[in-house]
């Protein structure tokens, strides 16, 4: 717990570190002597060179309730336990406190004593992570650590951690773990963890010597509709072919039944999953294409620079992230909010570039759509090269805030947070755009312009200003799309290129000049793509979707919802 507390420390202000130190000292005095012994074991495990000895030492820590052991083992596995090597003295393994001072250094916490490492004068030593030697681990050792951590994790406070630990340990089919599972199951309240524990027990018991225990285990897996169990049941069935004498008819029947039930469950969960993936891909397409639905759909500009507006939005998100890292440090709570700031910032930057583009070039080309195609394509090349010059040709890294990483697992269907967010965001911006176009006077003017520019101008609509505002809004939407896409894929100078075709596809299929068409087209393409993908593979799936769109447009050249507007006039 100490270390967890320390990990949460923000860059140390004097008062928080003092508080932590006081807390730390209180804690050290409160722990019983045996815990201190375990720490000595831990230190020995880290500093020994023999992997077999290390593994034994680590195993012996599996039943120790001291939370510092768990923290230290986790850190060791991730390579953030460091070694302090004073001259002529044994190595001291230590952790770094979470925050850094102004020079980027932080103090080290000695794992043996739980205190800061001090120099001869009694002053805490300062370290920078980059200059330190991390304590060695190999993948074998890490697995041993993981097993120990998993056993410790069975009594973790977080139910997700307990669940993962149970399923991981169950896969090892090690009968030694059974008492651990049963003990935990007796006290467990969360249904998901109970399921994982029952599953782990059943999978382990599949190898039991007694036939009735095995039968019970198979039935338990059947009842749980256990997907992890499927592999083990299949293995059992192959085994039955080689030595049939060990399998009763009852057992074979039960295995067969269980497999049928579980496979049925898998296909239901696949179905829900495909639907979800379809919606989430649709949402991505929709977010990316919505800006184009405005600039191309409503205004009739064949805007080849739309992709680059997305890219500008994505780079804006990258800049916001860097600013927040500078202000709060990475992985802190403050950092987590960067994305909320990135969305409006991306909107503004891309919108601003949109205004410049409209004022500088596009307004001269309203009557010459084909020339606007060439001009915007040129602009897109210029923008790409500009980004390459500023940020380099390589992609830049954007880290997701913690609330956008991870997933909810319901009925064996994984709902990733970033995907859920993208869906919610798509709905929000569609509603917002729809309200803007139908309920505001700007929206009314935009629609008037779209239907007949001269007439609208005659009626007193300031076409110049409305054009500029609409184009800026469309570009801004593209910018936000970029920020959103940064949570899913790459950010590089050619980001826009990979989206522009999809965007045009959505807008053209939906019917130029119409929002509900764009929404339906995005849904149609997204869901079809995901339904086809598991059967045809990604490559053939994509080709099929493209071919279907071409055929559809032969049948209805104006798209799903045809409207008359400038975009379609001769």
């Amino acid at each position: 717990m100490i270390l967890r507390r320390l990990n949460n420390l923000r860059p140390p202000t004097r008062s928080t570190t003092v508080a932590a130190l006081v807390w730390l000292l209180c804690y050290i005095f409160a722990i019983p002597l045996s815990a201190a012994n375990h720490r000595a074991v831990l230190v020995q495990a880290i500093t020994t060179n023999d992997v077999a000895v290390q593994a034994d030492l680590i195993n012996s820590l599996a039943n120790v309730p001291d939370p510092i052991i768990e923290q230290a083992l986790t850190a060791w596995r991730q390579g953030s336990v460091y070694l302090y090597e004073p001259e002529d003295q044994p190595k001291v393994p230590f952790l770094l406190e979470a925050g850094t001072d102004a020079t980027g250094k932080s103090r080290g916490i000695d794992l043996g004593t739980g205190e800061f490492i001090k120099d001869a004068a009694g002053q805490p030593l300062l370290f920078t992570a980059a200059d330190l030697t991390a304590a060695d681990t190999s993948s074998k050792l890490r697995r041993v650590i993981k097993t120990t951590l998993d056993l410790l994790a069975l009594s973790n406070l977080n139910p997700n951690v307990r669940r993962d630990a149970a399923s991981k340990l169950g896969q090892e089919q090690n009968a030694d773990y059974l008492p651990h599972f049963r003990e935990r199951l007796a006290n467990e309240k969360f249904p998901e963890v109970r399921k994982a524990l029952t599953e782990a027990i059943a999978i382990t018991e599949l190898l039991d010597e007694k036939a009735d225990v095995r039968l019970g285990a198979v039935r338990a897996l059947d009842q749980q509709r256990s997907i992890p169990g499927l592999d083990f049941l299949a293995r059992l069935e192959t085994e039955a072919k080689t030595k049939p004498q060990a399998f009763s008819l009852d057992l074979l029947n039960a295995i067969h039944q269980a497999r049928i039930h579980i496979e049925r469950h898998v296909s239901t969960s696949n179905f829900i999953e495909t639907a979800f993936h379809g919606f989430s891909l649709s949402a991505v397409l929709l977010i990316a294409a919505l800006g184009l639905a405005i600039t191309f759909g409503l205004m009739g500009i064949i805007n080849m620079a739309h992709g680059e507006m997305i890219m500008i939005g994505a780079y804006s998100a990258y800049l916001t992230q860097n600013l927040f890292i500078k202000m709060f440090g990475q992985g802190t709570r403050g950092f987590d909010f960067y994305f909320l700031a990135a969305l409006p910032f991306s909107f503004l930057t891309a919108g601003l570039v949109g205004i410049l583009l409209e004022r500088g070039i596009i307004r001269h080309l309203y009557k010459r759509p084909l020339e606007s195609l060439l001009a915007t394509w040129g602009v897109s090349l210029v923008l790409q090269q500009t980004m390459r010059t500023i940020f380099g040709a390589a992609n830049v890294q954007v880290y997701s805030p913690s609330w956008l990483t991870g997933n909810i697992n319901a009925q064996d269907v994984v709902f990733a947070y970033n995907r859920l967010f993208v869906i919610a965001f798509a709905i929000a911006i569609v509603v917002f755009t729809w309200l803007l176009l139908t309920k505001t006077s700007l929206g009314l003017q935009v629609r008037a312009l779209m239907q007949n520019r001269q007439m609208a101008a005659c009626m007193g609509v300031r076409t110049d200003r409305v054009n500029m505002a609409t184009f800026a809004f469309g570009s801004g939407l593209a910018g936000m799309a970029g920020a959103c896409l940064s949570q899913i894929g790459n950010i590089g100078p050619s980001l826009g290129q990979s989206h522009i075709v999809d965007c045009f596809m959505v807008v053209v299929l939906g019917g130029v000049g119409n929002l509900q068409g764009t929404v339906s087209a995005a849904l149609g393409i997204g869901v079809t793509d995901q339904v086809l993908q598991p059967h045809l593979g990604a490559v053939l799936g994509k080709i099929t979707v493209l071919a279907a769109i071409i055929l559809f447009l032969q049948w209805r050249p104006a798209g799903l919802f045809a409207t008359r507007g400038r975009g379609l006039e001769g």
Binding site: P228, A394, Y399, I488, S498, A538
Partner: protein
């Protein structure tokens, strides 16, 4: 205008004279790497390391007393253009040797050109094999120096299920075809091998990752990835978000080296594996010197060379090794003549950063192989050294 013309002519003549004069103590060497287009991101680093190596050699007196004069052309990630530029190098510039190509398709495109004009090409990037031209020397890892050892490592680790995912082109398809045969020979059932391809630049890995999640639910599963370039970002993001880690399902990537990690979110890649004949984290004195010298060279590097956050990686190292092997062969043959150099090359050894390498009769290297785990800082932690492996391009020779 009339007065200007004679001046230009005499200037040109003087220039031509200067050029022929300099041509006597230099030897022209071609660099055939894309400096623009999709592959530029990887290939530019190879051009940089080649220039560095030439400077290194020139500082010590060059080859046979002649300084290396690089002729850099840009085939712009355009496969037919590779053939055109190669022809230009061989016919117009009359280069003694060419270092170049990254993708297999670019190599296949220049191969007939090198055979027609009897040129010499050194190819430095891991590839699928099943090819042997008398005009090409492959310093690259063959399938039995990368894919097979990686799969062996997974098998030894107790993995029973293999999910092969790759970009849709010749290298992943051929490699996976060989791997499938190999896995079957090791007793892995058909149902436990899944093979899947995605287009270049694919961004939606939801379905594939969901499938991997179910595939690996029972444990003992791993992913063998030949995904190329950008697509790795959405793949690994999706992978991490689905709750998959290197512990419950490790990914071995054949196309990701330190140079690619510069633009990947390495946090999502921690613990996943790589298999190469070289890692920047090797601690041999030769490697320490190579890395330090390269970094020093970057400070004074010509304009256009990116100086920030530079790393070294296997294709870069193998590019450099190729230059040294060529130099030694030229010195042994006492001539730049392609036929004589080709005869002198087999048997050449070089103390490379990863250890001793030897050029074999089959134009491939004997080279030590390592398995490494990705760390958060974009470096590999070497977890296994497999010792020297003799490169063999033809899979029927190492598959029984």
């Amino acid at each position: 205008m009339k007065k200007l013309l004679p001046k230009i002519l005499s200037g040109a003549a003087a220039l031509a004279l200067a050029l022929t004069a300099s041509a006597q103590d230099t030897v022209k060497v071609g660099i055939l790497h894309s400096l623009s287009g999709t592959m530029a991101i990887s290939e530019t680093s190879l051009k940089d390391v080649l220039l560095f190596t030439f400077d290194e050699i020139n500082a010590k007196g060059g080859v046979l007393g002649k300084k290396i004069e690089p002729v850099i052309v840009d085939p712009a990630s355009n496969w037919p253009l590779f053939a055109e530029k190669a022809e230009g190098l061989l016919v117009k510039d009359k280069v003694a040797v060419v270092f170049g190509c990254w993708t297999s398709v670019s190599r296949k495109s220049v191969l007939p050109v090198f055979e027609k004009y009897n040129g010499l090409l050194f190819y430095p990037v891991q590839y699928e094999g099943e090819e042997l031209s008398k005009n090409i020397f492959y310093t690259a890892e063959a399938v039995n120096q990368q894919a097979v050892p990686a799969v062996d490592y997974m098998l030894a680790d107790g993995k029973k299920k293999f999910y092969l995912v790759g970009s849709d082109y010749v290298y992943p398809r051929t490699t996976n075809k060989i791997l499938k045969k190999y896995l079957k020979s090791k007793g892995i059932a058909d149902a436990d091998i899944i093979e899947i391809y995605t287009p270049f630049g694919h961004t939606d890995y939801q379905t594939i990752v969901a499938e991997i999640k179910k595939f690996s639910a029972g444990g003992k599963a791993c992913v063998i990835s030949t995904l190329n370039g950008d697509t790795n970002v959405p793949f690994f993001k999706e992978f991490a978000n689905a709750g998959l880690t290197s512990e419950n399902c490790p990914v071995v990537s054949f196309s990701l080296s330190e140079d690619e990690f510069r633009s990947l979110p390495t946090k999502d890649l921690v613990g996943h594996l790589g298999c190469w004949t070289y890692f920047m984290s090797l601690t041999t004195p030769e490697n320490k010197k190579f890395v330090a010298d390269f970094k020093k060279w970057l400070k004074t590097a010509p304009a256009g060379v990116d100086r920030n956050n530079r790393v070294t990686c296997s294709p870069m190292n193998l590019s450099r090794t190729g230059v040294y092997l060529w130099k030694q062969a030229v010195e042994k043959a006492g001539s730049f003549d392609v036929d004589k150099v080709r005869e002198a090359l087999p048997g050449q050894t070089f103390k490379a950063p990863e250890g001793k390498v030897t050029m074999q009769e089959n134009h491939h290297l004997i080279n030590p192989v390592f398995i490494g785990e990705t760390m958060a800082n974009g470096q590999f932690k070497i977890i296994k050294s497999l010792g020297p492996v003799a490169g063999e391009p033809f899979s029927d020779k190492f598959l029984k």
